[in-house]
């Protein structure tokens, strides 16, 4: 213990802190594209969560929706690729017909699983958290079964991945903001679309008639019904449309990030997305920011493995076990969630099944 104390004493804390800041300033622009890419599936999942919860439906099943879509996206793309043989890819993004088919199937899958969640929580009025959990368990079981049945026996199955865009050099070389251009535009099509989808949903939710109605249904469904909004139909529509985002997140995992499917490959991102929704105060922009925050810790791990810091900072970091960085995104999510809950107020009707009053 004494040994540890003396070895800690000998490290100049202030110096290390400055080194850390310097290291971050130097590396953040380098790893920023990785950073935005890592945040993409979480942000997409969070958009799904916002769509659900703004209409008053708790969705714990985002994880399962992502996983199922990731599987069907991979399978559809691979089967189409097998059926039509090699095709030429477009110069930008490397788009091929199999990849497009995969994304389309992923979106449909997300909508289909969402429809199941909508039916269970709106019509059946099952407990919404139980419904979401069942979707997660189903996704894990069914994709595991089908993976063993269809994908494992055919190891050559695959359709490649989307290529990231290479932004023109003169934009990337712009001083100060060039790295931002690179961060948001040196991406594959799905990750790049996230920013646009976030802004689109933000505007729709707060500046359109649909958005006003959705928020009304999430806050006070009875009042919404009295002014002529069909609460049940709107909730169904929003939950099913929310599945599009979960489907895109799944497609991102298999068709843009890895090019293969592993069991349980969503690895908790759907749950981090839920935390992002809460921390982002149920707004698309806020939850996108939260998703960036949660992935910052993972990006730091990537940065350290790519360019290990030197000097005293390097000595300090070597003391920290590698597993710590693996747990960091989850730890940050946990801490931020605990700090945010209670301060951010959920839609008032979230989680409550709506029972239309009978006509007399």
């Amino acid at each position: 213990m004494d040994q540890l104390a003396t070895s800690l004493d000998s490290i100049p804390v202030l110096g290390v802190a400055f080194q850390l800041i310097g290291y971050l300033v130097a590396t953040v622009p380098v790893i920023a594209p990785v950073f935005v890419a890592l945040a993409a599936p979480i942000a997409l999942g969070a958009l799904c969560g916002v769509m659900n919860e703004r209409s008053g439906i708790v969705n714990i099943g985002i994880e399962g929706m992502m996983l199922t879509s990731a599987f069907t996206a991979f399978l559809a793309a691979a089967l189409v690729a097998q059926a039509i043989g090699p095709t030429s890819a477009t110069p930008i993004f490397g788009v091929t017909i199999p990849l497009l088919a995969g994304v389309a199937v992923a979106i449909l899958t997300g909508m289909l699983v969402s429809a199941l969640h909508a039916w269970l929580s709106i019509s059946i009025r099952a407990d919404q958290i139980i419904s979401g959990t069942i979707i997660n368990i189903m996704a894990f079981g069914v994709t595991g079964f089908l993976n063993r049945l269809v994908i494992s026996p055919n190891p050559r199955l695959g359709a490649g991945i989307f290529r990231p865009l290479a932004p023109p050099a003169f934009l990337v070389d712009v001083p100060v903001v060039g790295w931002l251009v690179k961060a948001f535009f040196a991406q594959g099509p799905i990750a790049m679309s996230v920013v646009f989808l976030v802004i689109l949903l933000q505007v729709w939710l707060f500046r359109s008639r649909w958005g006003l109605r959705t928020r009304a249904v999430g806050e006070h469904p009875k009042a919404a019904e009295t002014v002529g909004i069909d609460v049940i139909a709107l909730r169904y529509r929003n939950v099913i449309l929310g599945g599009i985002f979960a489907g895109l997140a799944g497609a991102y995992l298999t068709l843009e990030q890895s090019g293969s499917f592993q069991n349980g490959m969503s690895s908790g991102r759907g749950f981090i997305a839920i935390a992002a929704v809460i921390f982002g105060r149920w707004t698309p922009l806020g939850s996108f920011g939260a998703a960036l925050l949660f992935t910052a810790s993972e990006a730091l791990r990537v940065a350290i493995s790519l360019s290990p810091p030197t000097g005293q900072l390097g000595d300090v970091l070597r003391f920290i076990p590698a597993e710590f960085f693996g747990a960091l995104p989850y730890l940050v999510t946990l801490v931020v969630l605990v700090a945010a809950v209670g301060r951010s107020v959920p839609p008032a009707a979230v989680g409550k099944p709506y029972v239309r009053e009978a006509r007399t």
Binding site: D127, F324, K352
Partner: protein, 383 residues
């Protein structure tokens, strides 16, 4: 016909048995329906993989499943062994449900307990058996309870919903056990990272060649938890908080304290499961120890309707599925993962119980589980 002219109820709806039937009808019907749906899935998947339709395949598969689960003494013992962690995990989730808490962090609690038990057991490998076993068990159980206490405390003090926090804690636990097993607990002299040999801390075998004494713990836990929930003051308080936290607070109970206590108890039961799996079955711990106990336990608790005896029955069913799946894969060429699919379909039918009731003409009894508060506490509105 009875005196008042109404048709007499059929014998299975009468008396004590009738009361059990009223609760058990939907779960039993869900299992039957799930097996029918799974039979269709087996048929379709065999058409996809082999290209030919064999209508008898589901029967062959289920016969192999039953034979593999109950067909011989060793099969039966294997079923019991498979059901053991499920009983404890199911009780853990069920206790949480009773308090309106949803512990989906069983995996982390289980793994951390397993690591603690393996570490202490290996350290005391040469100590006298009873001391080594007791210390290792206690270490595991404490680790599980502590890992359950964390989400309980987070919920009690900040309102962070346990569904999200326990999942985060699962991933954090995975990192912690990776660090512990490859660091302080690493046993030298093996080609892969693992904890040391348990020596005297291995649980003694009491039946056959694989039923260890930990199975007795699982069997005893069922009546103990039943007594705790339905006959003790604490159980009454737990159920009151689950039914209506505001009313419970009004009656002088403290929901915050009970939330922490219940989550610790839930973690403790997962801790027992993790400890005896290591001390009785695996005998050492590795960083990538694979388990789906967290999800499986939820399935068991839902199918058992959060009642200890129902949970025991559900655990034996799922234990039998897992024990028989191996033989089914050999004889009928169905991947063992079909068990996960069957489990998921059972859950789906349980959630959509109105469909099941319509098909089997079962009258509405009570709701699936008393879970009103699970969703209503979402995002920290109800404390």
């Amino acid at each position: 016909m009875t005196v008042d002219g109404r048709p007499r109820r059929p014998f299975w709806r009468r008396g004590r048995f009738g009361r059990v039937w009223a609760i058990a009808a939907v779960p039993v019907a869900s299992v039957v329906l799930a097996l029918v749906v799974a039979a269709v899935i087996i048929l379709i998947s065999s058409v996809v993989t082999t290209g030919s339709l064999d209508v008898s395949l589901p029967l062959v598969a289920y016969a192999a499943l039953v034979q593999g689960a109950f067909g011989s003494e060793s099969a039966l013992l294997n079923t019991i062994l498979q059901a053991t962690p499920l009983v404890l995990g199911g009780l853990a989730v069920g206790v949480g449900f009773k308090a309106g808490l949803f512990n989906i962090g069983g995996q982390g609690q289980f793994l951390l307990a397993a690591t603690a038990a393996a570490g202490v057991g290996a350290a005391l490998a040469t100590a006298p058996g009873p001391i080594a076993i007791t210390a290792a068990l206690l270490a595991g159980i404490l680790a599980g309870a502590l890992w359950g206490l964390i989400p309980g405390a987070l919920k009690a003090f900040s309102g962070a919903h346990e569904v999200v926090t326990t999942i985060m804690l699962n991933s954090i636990a995975a990192a912690v056990i990776g660090y512990l097993i490859l660091g302080p607990l690493l046993a030298p002299g093996f080609s892969f990272g693992r904890t040391g040999d348990l020596g005297n801390a291995v649980l003694p075998i009491v039946l056959g060649d694989n039923i260890h004494i930990g199975v007795v713990l699982a069997v005893v836990a069922v009546p103990i938890v039943w007594w705790l929930l339905y006959r003790s003051t604490l159980g009454f308080e737990i159920r009151s908080v689950g039914a209506n936290p505001s009313a419970a607070r009004y009656a002088g109970m403290r929901p915050a304290g009970l939330t922490m206590l219940t989550m610790s108890l839930s973690g403790l039961l997962f801790g027992v499961a993790g400890s005896i799996e290591i001390l009785g079955v695996s005998h050492f711990m590795i960083p990538s120890y694979g388990t789906s106990i967290g999800f499986d336990a939820i399935a068991v608790a839902l199918l058992g309707r959060s009642h200890p005896f129902g949970i025991a029955a559900a655990a034996i069913l799922f234990g039998a599925l897992r024990a028989g799946a191996g033989l089914m894969q050999v004889l009928a060429n169905i991947p063992v993962e079909i068990v996960d699919v069957i489990q998921a379909i059972i859950l789906l039918f349980l959630a959509a119980d109105i469909v099941v009731r319509r098909i089997f003409r079962i009258r509405a009894a009570e709701a699936l589980t008393d879970l009103e508060t699970v969703t209503s506490s979402y995002a920290g509105r109800v404390r």
